[in-house]
């Protein structure tokens, strides 16, 4: 009976993936250092590479959060960009408050756009955002609360599959329209920009770039470890069970609404954190971040990498975005076709994504 009592040893595949991940993280960590080398050095890495990679790391965290919801719990969210954007807006509000009297209008408290729109005092929901800890709390709480409400209503009513996807897509679309409005108090279609500093550190400098890059990398590694640990517990297996046969899980006594809600809220919070680190790196946040296309792109990253594997989400986020960065400069008109074609190709030929391909090659070699 000993066969039954011991867990199987980690497969060679898993060990290989772990080694690959450690190497990838070390390589990423080296980028800002290589950026310091003299420009004529063969190992010099340009500012562009550092800042673009910093963005991709945030995208990778978003992909990871989506994989938790979709790949494990089976919640195909087409609105995860909304959680990312809300985290970004919460961070943006903090950055706007930090501008203080340095704005173009020189108002001691009100951000420029409020002065321009004739606000005389700060709207109530802007209070507190001058505090970094408070803003960080909101970065997680606001997306988490939205996920809690939307998830509760949808899961309790047993809305699943394509209806759930449409619902989440409508959620991000509605938020986009709302944030476009000037009277919402979030800067309308211009959003927030012209950030000055964060934690006393002037933004836009090489050192700020490096700090934000490392902060994102720490978030990525932390999220990866959290998701990996979580999905290896019995809870992870309950999510898989719900994904594959939700009704069966209910008859086993699992309150699937609660389990899905837990995963969805956690996932939204991770996405919010990713958005919060994204905004100071790109220097702007506007309602375009809520556009339905962004959420769909995130789903494609996960599908391309291979869902339900966590590593696949990372692989997909980096590879699709690398392709996008290259293609949008080489042949900008082709990008949307390429993205669509990629999705169709992966769905038809690589249902388990790039990770599945890797797996198949290994099996082919008889490993």
């Amino acid at each position: 009976m000993s066969i039954a009592l011991t867990a199987p040893p980690p497969s060679r595949m898993r060990l290989g993936i772990r080694t690959g991940l450690i190497i990838a993280v070390l390589l990423l960590a080296a980028l800002p250092i290589l950026n310091l080398l003299p420009r004529d050095s063969a190992f010099h890495v340009s500012d562009f590479i550092v800042s673009v990679t910093g963005k991709w790391i945030c995208y990778a965290v978003l992909a990871l959060s989506l994989d938790l919801a979709w790949g494990y719990a089976g919640i195909l969210s087409l609105g995860h960009g909304a959680f990312f954007a809300l985290g970004g807006y919460a961070m943006g509000m903090h950055l706007m408050r930090l501008i203080g009297p340095r704005g173009a209008y020189g108002h001691p408290v009100l951000p420029d756009f409020m002065v321009f729109l004739g606000y005389t005092e700060l709207p109530w929901f802007w209070h507190g955002f001058q505090s970094f800890p408070y803003a960080m709390l909101m970065v997680m709480l606001v997306p988490g609360a939205l996920a809690l409400v939307v998830g509760f209503l949808a899961f309790r009513s047993r809305i699943t599959g394509v209806y759930l996807s449409i619902l989440t897509q409508a959620m991000t679309y509605a938020l986009m329209l709302a944030f476009f409005r000037n009277d919402m108090g979030f800067g309308g279609n211009n959003g927030f920009t012209d950030f000055k500093e964060l934690l006393g550190m002037p933004l836009g400098t090489p050192s700020a770039r490096a700090v934000l890059f490392y902060a994102s990398l720490v978030l990525l590694v932390g999220s990866m470890l959290l998701c990996a640990a979580l999905t290896r517990t019995k809870y992870g297996r309950v999510l898989t069970a719900i994904r594959d046969a939700e009704s069966r899980a209910r008859f086993l006594g699992y309150d699937t609404t609660r389990h899905k809600l837990f995963a969805f809220v956690l996932s939204a919070m991770l996405a919010g954190l990713a958005g919060a680190l994204y905004v100071p790196q790109v220097g702007i946040i506007n309602p375009g971040e809520f556009s339905p296309g962004n959420s769909i792109e995130a789903v494609i990253w996960v599908a391309v990498g291979g869902r339900g594997t966590l590593v696949g989400a990372l692989l997909g986020a980096f590879s699709v975005n690398a392709l996008k960065t290259w293609l949008t400069s080489a042949a900008p008109d082709l990008w949307l076709f390429a993205l669509g074609g990629l999705f169709v190709a992966v769905t038809l030929f690589l249902p388990r994504g790039l990770i599945g391909l890797f797996d198949r090659v290994k099996k082919g070699r008889g490993a």
Binding site: K234, T240, D244, A245, S247, L252
Partner: protein
Amino acid sequence: MKGRSLYLDGVTVVFDGFRALNNLSLVVEPGELRAIIGPNGAGKTTMMDVITGKTRPTSGTVRFGDMDLTRLDEPTIANLGIGRKFQKPTVFDDLTVFENIELALKAPRGPIACIKWHLTGEAADRIGQVMTEVGLVERAHDPAGILSHGQRQWLEIGMLLAQDPELLLVDEPVAGMTDAETEHTAAMLVGIAGKRSVVVVEHDLEFVRALGRRVTVLHEGSVLSEGSIDHVQNDPRVIEVYLGR
């Protein structure tokens, strides 16, 4: 804890004007093993759906002890101690046999409890015991998705055992099983009853005879006849609608 009885009274389920259950009344005593037979479409599966909270009856009473089951959802009813095996075996394909049984094992069901859960020696022993009982020890670390049809049936029965329910509802457990497997299943269900109540729905009369217990014949959503297998087999109404065909 003293055993609870299952009590259905005047249960009617209407789907788009069609009466799947029609004024059905049935009592299953604690520890009883009850076989339910009836032609296809008689409402046997619908009856299980009503007991387990999947379908709300249009009218009638469904009680387990003093709990009104018509007001509870599936997980709550499952946690009251009512386990169910489906007609079409449903197991979690991506999880191993071991993990399937681990999920079924009686334990707190909330997200936090599942995160904190770690496999104690006692739990592992229990899982090993269940796998032995259903003959799947060698397949412990195989994903359930690659099991044969019969093995899936067994795994589902194993999950039911691991759940340790007070009342088991078993829908057509021997469909697709060999004669030897069928016999083993009958012996196992007889062994389970006594400690728990068991309701078995089955087409196979030989199987029902092997159980050797009280039989209820359903027809068009209500009870047509009830008694020993010999009694119902000789009941002219049963012969007319079911056995005689």
